[in-house]
Symmetry: C2
Subunit: 773 residues, 2 copies
C-alpha cells in the first residue's frame, strides 16, 4: 500500500521524483483513447527502471504457450496484448550531454493526470552532470475526438546556459513484451521512410500479420516562433527518427510539438496504410496542437456529462471514482465491436488476452448506464461474432450439435488460457455472457437484439449446458461435475451452486427468448431455426426438464445455499480468526492449503444472489451474506463490489462503504503491490457499481428505473449522471432527498424507495420520509 498520490477532485498528482515509484506511476498515469494507449513512460531517454508500454487495440500476437504438463484440449498459444512501436521518444541533448532523469539532479518534478480534459502533464527541473540546468514540461494525450491521433507538447527552457540543444524525435519499433514466453520479439519491419518532415514506420506482427503504421511529425518553435532547423533523419532496423539541432540562449523557450498517428490493417487495406497515416498526420498539422487539445477537452466533457459521479465531502473518494471512470473510458469507447476490455487495458501486458468474463459480469452495467446504447451492444456483438469459434472450442472438448463454450480468455474467439482447472472448468463464464444479453435488454428495452443477435448465442450456450449436465441416479437430479466457480480457491468441484443456478437460468432464458422471437418475428424465427438446425420440440423440452430438475446444494443446518458439494466437510474457520500475517493467503499459503481451507477468494453464492436478487427474500440474502462474507478473503479484485452492493441491499451501510473503499483506490494506493504491472481496469467497473447499484440502489425493473438510496455517513451527498433509454439524467442523493434532473424533453417515471414518481424535464426533488444515512 502506497500513499503518494495527492488527493484532488479532477487530477491525479505526483509531486517529487521517486525512481522507486516510477513503474507504479507509469501505470497510474497511463493514457488511452480506446484505440491506442500507453503507460506514462518518459519522452526523453531514461536509463532507470521502467516498463515500456505502447499498445494498439486489437493487435495481438499468439505467443507459443508455456506449459508445465500438457493436457488434451489445451490451446497452442496465448494471445498477448502487444507492446507496439514507441512513438513518444523525444531525446534531448544539451551541449553533448543527454537528458536522463536517472543521472540528472531532478527538482520540482510533478506529474499530473488531468482527468477532466484527458491529458498527461509532467514538469521538472534537471541539472545535468555537467552542470547545465534546464526546465522541462510536457503534455500529451491520445485524442478521443480523432482516435488515430495523439500529440505531445514538450517544452525546454535552458536555465543557466547557452549552446546547442538537439532533439531526437523517434519512432522505435524494436520493442519487446516483458511477458514473452520464449523471449522472442513479435514484430517485423515492413517499411520506414521520411517524407515532408513526417517519419513513417510500418511494422507487421509475426504469425498474425497485423500491419501497424506509426507516423510522427515533429516541429519546433523557439520563443513562440516556428523555426527551421537542421534536420537529420536517423534510421535503423525498426527505428526512425528526426534529429533537430538548435543553438539557444539561456531562458529561450523551446517548444517541441510532436503529432503521432497509429493506423492498422484492421481498418485499412495494407497497401493503403501509409496514405491513411499521412492523412491522419495532415489532419493533426492542419488543426494544430491547441485545437487538438481543445477537441480532446470537449470530447472528455461529453464523457463526463454521460457518466460523472460527484461525491461531496470526500476528496479522496471523489478522485478515486473519477479515476476509475476515466480509465474505463480510456480503455473502451465502444466504437468497434471487434474490440473488448483487457484486464489491464493499455496500462500493462499482464494477463494477455483482451476478454474475460469480467466484461459481461462487471463492465456491461457501467457502459449501459454511462455510454450510448451502441457501446454495450457492441460488447455483446463481440461475442456474437465469435459464436462459431465458441462452438469450435466446445467441439474440441467433446461437445457437439452447436453447443458453444466461450473461452476463458480470448482475443479473436479462440481460447488462450491453458490451466485445466480454469480453461476447462470455469465454465460459469458462459452463463455471464447469457446474463449480459438479458441485462442489456432489461436496461435498454431493446428486445430486437434477441432476433438479430442474442438468440443464436443463447441457443449455443443452452446447448452446452444441456450436454454438460448429467443425470445423477444418486441424487435423482441433474448435476454439473468438475467445475471451478468464480471462487478460484476451489477447483474441480461438483455442483457449484452458482454454476448450477446460472446453467438452469440460461436454459430457461434461452427458451423464453426463443419463444419471444417465434411469436414476434416469424422470419427471424425461421432464419435462426435453419441456421442453428434447431430441434424445437426436443431441445426446448430438454432445457425445461433439466432446469426443473437441477440439483442445488443446500446446508440445512445453516439454512444457506452451499457453495459446492462437500463444502461443509471443511474445517469451518472464519476470516476474522485468521492471523494478519497469514494474509493474503495467495502469498502466504501453499496452493494445497488454500484449496483445502474453507476460505473463499470471491463468494460465488453471493454473485448469484446479486444476479438473481429478485428470486430471494431479504432474510435469505442476509443469511447467505453473513455465512459467506465471514469466509471470504476477497483476494480477487472483483469480489468486494458484490459484497458492497448486497450489504447496501441489506441496509448494512457500514459494510457497504467498507467494501467500496477496498475497490475504489486499489490502484491509486497500490493496495496489492502490483500496480506497476498495470491497472485493474475491469474491476474499476465494480467500483462504479458499488456506488450506483449499491449506495443509490439503482436497478431497472419492468422497464423502469428504481432507486433505493443511502448516503455513506462520510459523505455529504453524491450524484451521478446516467443515460436511460434516450434520457440523460443527473441523480443527486443526500441524506434527506433525491434530486433527479431530466435533461430530455420527455417525462419519465421512476420509483424511489418503492414509490413511483413522474420526472418531467428539469429538476425534481423528492424528500425522503426518513433520513437515509
Amino acid at each position: 500500500m502506497k500513499n503518494y498520490i495527492k488527493a484532488n477532485e479532477w487530477t491525479i498528482v505526483e509531486e517529487g521524483f521517486d525512481a522507486q515509484l516510477n513503474k507504479i506511476s507509469e501505470s497510474i498515469f497511463s493514457i488511452g483513447n480506446g484505440r491506442m494507449g500507453q503507460r506514462a513512460n518518459f519522452e526523453e531517454k531514461y536509463t532507470g527502471e521502467t516498463l515500456l508500454g505502447n499498445y494498439v487495440a486489437g493487435v495481438y500476437y499468439p505467443d507459443k504457450t508455456r506449459v508445465g504438463w500438457w493436457k488434451n484440449g489445451y490451446p497452442e498459444y496465448f494471445a498477448k496484448v502487444l507492446n507496439a512501436a514507441n512513438w513518444i521518444g523525444i531525446d534531448v541533448n544539451v551541449n553533448g550531454e543527454t537528458l536522463d532523469l536517472h543521472t540528472a539532479k531532478v527538482s520540482d518534478f510533478q506529474r499530473i493526470l488531468n482527468m477532466k480534459e484527458g491529458h498527461l502533464e509532467r514538469s521538472f527541473v534537471a541539472e545535468l552532470p555537467g552542470g547545465n540546468k534546464l526546465k522541462v514540461s510536457s503534455k500529451r494525450f491520445c485524442s478521443i475526438a480523432d482516435d488515430e491521433l495523439a500529440a505531445i507538447h514538450y517544452q525546454i527552457i535552458p536555465l543557466n546556459f547557452s549552446g546547442n540543444v538537439t532533439i531526437t524525435s523517434s519512432i522505435d519499433g524494436d520493442v519487446k513484451n516483458q511477458d514473452s514466453n520464449y523471449d522472442e520479439k513479435f514484430w517485423d519491419q515492413v517499411n520506414s521512410n521520411m517524407a515532408n518532415g513526417t517519419a513513417y514506420l510500418t511494422l507487421r506482427t509475426k504469425k498474425t500479420e497485423f500491419d501497424v503504421c506509426t507516423a510522427a511529425h515533429t516541429l519546433i518553435k523557439v520563443n513562440q516562433q516556428q523555426v527551421t532547423v537542421a534536420a537529420e533523419t536517423l534510421t535503423k532496423h525498426k527505428f526512425i527518427a528526426t534529429k533537430l539541432s538548435y543553438e539557444v540562449k539561456a531562458n529561450d523557450v523551446v517548444d517541441v510539438y510532436k503529432y503521432a498517428s497509429n493506423v492498422t490493417s484492421q481498418n485499412y487495406k495494407k497497401e493503403d496504410l501509409l496514405a491513411a497515416a499521412e492523412k491522419a498526420i495532415s489532419r493533426a498539422i492542419a488543426s494544430g496542437y491547441d485545437k487538438l487539445l481543445q477537441d480532446q477537452a470537449e470530447a472528455w466533457a461529453n464523457k463526463w456529462e454521460e457518466g460523472d459521479i460527484i461525491i461531496d465531502g470526500d476528496v479522496a473518494a471523489q478522485q478515486a471514482i473519477r479515476f476509475n471512470i476515466f480509465q474505463l473510458n480510456q480503455t473502451y469507447t465502444g466504437k468497434d465491436a471487434r474490440l473488448n476490455i483487457g484486464p489491464k487495458g493499455f496500462t500493462g501486458e499482464k494477463y494477455g488476452g483482451s476478454t474475460y468474463w469480467d466484461t459481461e459480469a462487471y463492465c456491461i452495467p457501467f457502459y449501459l448506464a454511462t455510454a450510448p446504447q451502441q457501446v454495450s451492444k457492441n460488447l455483446l456483438i463481440y461475442r456474437h461474432n465469435q459464436l462459431q469459434k465458441a462452438i469450435e472450442n466446445a467441439a474440441k472438448l467433446g461437445f457437439n450439435s452447436g453447443a458453444a463454450l466461450y473461452p476463458m480468455v480470448t482475443m479473436n474467439g479462440e481460447e488462450c488460457h491453458n490451466e485445466w482447472e480454469i480453461t476447462f472448468e470455469e465454465i460459469h463464464r458462459n452463463g455471464a455472457i447469457a446474463f449480459a444479453i438479458y441485462n442489456y435488454i432489461r436496461y435498454t428495452g431493446d428486445q430486437s437484439y434477441l432476433a438479430a443477435y442474442g438468440l443464436e448465442v443463447l441457443i449455443g450456450i443452452a446447448r452446452f449446458w444441456k450436454q454438460r449436465v448429467n443425470w445423477s441416479e444418486e441424487k435423482n437430479s441433474y448435476v454439473i461435475l468438475g467445475v471451478t466457480g468464480p471462487n478460484e480457491y476451489e477447483n474441480n468441484i461438483n455442483n457449484n451452486w452458482y454454476t448450477n443456478k446460472l446453467a438452469a437460468w440460461c436454459m430457461r432464458y434461452a427458451k423464453e427468448a426463443f419463444e419471444l422471437v417465434k411469436s414476434s418475428d416469424v422470419d427471424e424465427y425461421l432464419r435462426i431455426v435453419g441456421l442453428t438446425n434447431f430441434k424445437e420440440e426436443q431441445e426446448l423440452a430438454d432445457w425445461t426438464k433439466i432446469a426443473d430438475q437441477m440439483y442445488y446444494p443446500f446446508d440445512k443446518k445453516h439454512n444457506v445455499y452451499l457453495q459446492q458439494d462437500g463444502y461443509m466437510d471443511k474445517e469451518q474457520v472464519l476470516v476474522a480468526e485468521l492471523a494478519a500475517e497469514e494474509r493474503p493467503l495467495n502469498q502466504k499459503w501453499s496452493w494445497d492449503r488454500i484449496l483445502r481451507s474453507c476460505f473463499i477468494k470471491q463468494a460465488d453464492v453471493l454473485q448469484g444472489m446479486y444476479f438473481f436478487e429478485d428470486e430471494f427474500d431479504l432474510e435469505t440474502i442476509k443469511r447467505n451474506f453473513k455465512f459467506y462474507e465471514s469466509r471470504t478473503v476477497h483476494e480477487s479484485s472483483l469480489s468486494p463490489c458484490v459484497h458492497s452492493i448486497l450489504a447496501a441491499r441489506l441496509s448494512d451501510e457500514e459494510k457497504a462503504y467498507e467494501f467500496y473503499l477496498r475497490t475504489s483506490r486499489l490502484d491509486l494506493d497500490d493496495y496489492n503491490n502490483d500496480t506497476e504491472d498495470g491497472l485493474h481496469i475491469t474491476s474499476m467497473a465494480g467500483t462504479w457499481m458499488s456506488i450506483v447499484e449499491g449506495f443509490a440502489g439503482m436497478k431497472v425493473r419492468d422497464n423502469q428505473l428504481q432507486f433505493n438510496p443511502f448516503v455513506p455517513s462520510q459523505w455529504n451527498s453524491f450524484s451521478f449522471n446516467i443515460g436511460f433509454r434516450g434520457t440523460q439524467l443527473k441523480i443527486k442523493i443526500s441524506s434527506t432527498q433525491i434530486s433527479i434532473t431530466n435533461n430530455s424533453a420527455n417525462e419519465i417515471e421512476v420509483k424511489v424507495l418503492n414509490e413511483a414518481y413522474a420526472i418531467p424535464t428539469g429538476e425534481t426533488e423528492i424528500l425522503f420520509k426518513e433520513v437515509c444515512v
Copy 2:
C-alpha cells in the same frame, strides 16, 4: 503395437535393419549395470534418427522448471536423469568414406540382447556408397561384476577391398538432454587428457557439481595379432578421441577392443577421480576382454539363480518375463542406498527424477524375493536418509512438528514435480512408503529395521496424516479433502477410499511399531523419542482416535467401497460400452471429459484390497473387483498387474492371464507407441508380481511362505526362483503339483492351498487334490 521382436527364451532378437524402428530398439536393447547404462545406440557414426542415451546413476541436473501458471509451494527445479558422456563412439572410415548405416546399403543386420549373459550384440554387412563392403559385428556390456567398467568388442572385416581403415574411438561429452526445459547443456568440462593410450574426460554438472570421469582405452588386433598402429589424439571441448589407422587387405579381421570406465565424485574425492578411472581401466586391461565377458556371464548366472522365472509351453511369455526381470536387474542392483529405480531406468530421459511411489508399491516385492535382503533394505534406507527433506517438504506446504511428506518425484529427497494436483495431492505415496516398511519386515522378519530406521519414518508419516485430516461436523468423522488417488483421472477429490484407508493404517502401524520398539529396545526407544521430540501419550492417542473415526465412502446400492465422495453422481458407463476408437482416452478425449467421466485410469480401491487383502472376505473383493474392473481403462502401466493378482485370488484365471498379458510385453511389442522414449522399468516389477503373487499365489503370513497356485491353461508349467530368509528356493508349478526345491541346509515350512508342508533340503513334490488350471 509392433511385432518385430523374434521370440526366443533367452534373447531378444531383431533381424533386418529398419530405421523406423531404430529408436524403439535403442530402448529395448538397452544395457546397464545399476551404476551406469545406455541405450542401444550404434558405436559408429549414425546420421539417421536416434535418441542418444548414456546415463550414470545418481548424477542429475536440477533443470529450471517450466510452469504454465505458478502455484505457491512448487519446487524451483525438476531434477533430470542426465545424458552423460557418450563413451561408445567407434567411428569407422574406410578409404576416406565413413561408415554410417543411414547412408550405407545394409544387409544381414541383426541385434541381439543376450539376457542370459548380459550383453548386446549387433552384426551387419554394409556397402558404402563408394562400393566398399564390410562386415561388422559388435558386442558390448556394462559389467555387473565390476560396475565401474564396460567393454566393447567391435570387429570389422573388409569384404571386397584393401586399403585404409581408420577407427576414431571417442568420449563425447558434448551431449544434451532432449527434455532440457530451456535447451541448455548441463555439463562443463573439468579436464581431458590422453595418457598411456587411455583417454580421460572429466565433466562437471552445472549447479549440482557432480564430477564424472570417463575413461576409454582402445586397442586393435588384426587377424588375432595385437598391432601397433599410428595413433593420433583428437581433442575438442568436451571431447577426446584416439584415431587409429591401419592398412588392411580383404578378409583381414580387425578387432577393436574398447574398455571404458565411469567413476563419479559420489564415490571418490574429486581430486582422486582421475586415479580411480586409471585404476579401473588398468583392471580391465589386466583382465582382458574375454575374462571380463566371462565374469559378466557368471554374475548374470547368479542373478538368474536368484530370480529366474521359467515358463514351459509359451516362448513369447518366457521371453517377456525374462526381459522384465533382466531390465529390473540392469537398473537397480541395490548396492548403494543413494540410488533408486527411475521409471525409465537407463533407457531414456522421460519423467526425469529417479524415485516415484512405484518403488515401494511395485518394486519392493520383486527385490524382496529375488535379491539379497540388503537390496530391498537399501531401497527403504533411501527414504530414511531423505526423511529430513520430507519434513522440510511438508513444512513448505504448511505442516509442522516433524510431519513428513515424501516427494512425488525426487532425486535427493527434494520434490521435483510441479503439477499441483499431483505434487500436493497425490499424497498416498506417503502411505506406500510406510507399507513397504511393513512389507519388508513381513517378508524378511527383520524387526530390527524398525528401531534402526523404520520407526522414525513411520512417525513422520503418521504425523503428516494426523495434520492432513480434518474433522467433519457434517460426517461426524475425520475426512481427507483435496487429494488425487492412484487413479489420476480424478483430481482434487474428497475422501479417496484408498488414501483414507492407507492413512488410517499408517497411523495404526506407526503406533504398533512405536510400541514394539518401546517394549523391545529401550535405548532405541529413548533415542527416537528424543530425536523426534515425540509426545507419546498425546500423539499415540491422536493417531488411534483418527484411525478409529476415519470416514470411508461406501455405496450401499452396489455394496462397494466408493472410490471417492460423489463418484456415484457420475454417469455410470462401463468400459465395455466404450467404442474402440475412443481409446486410449488420454489420447482421444479432452482432459475435462476424462475428469468428469466415471472411467478409472488405475483402480485405487483394488490397490487397497491388494495391500490389505486379509481384511476383506472373498465376496467383498469379488463385488469390488467386478464393479471397478468394469470401469477401469488401465491407462497406467501399473494398473493391470493388480487386477491380475486379484483375479487370481478370485480364481478368475482367465482374467488373471488376460491382465498379465497386458503388462508382460508392453515394451517388447510397443503397446502404447512410446517405447522409443525408454522402457517402463517400474511396471516390469508388476509383471513379476502377476506371476508370483498372482498365478502362484505366493504370500508371507505369520513368517511363513504360502502358495495358492494355478497354471494358466496356455502354459504347461511355470517355475521361479526366490530367496526367503536365507533359503534359496525353486518353485515349480504344474496343473497337478507344486514342486519346491530347497537349496539350503535348513528345512522350512510352507503352506500350499492352506495346508502346511515341511520342505527339507532338496526337492519336495506336493500333488494337488484337484487339478489347478
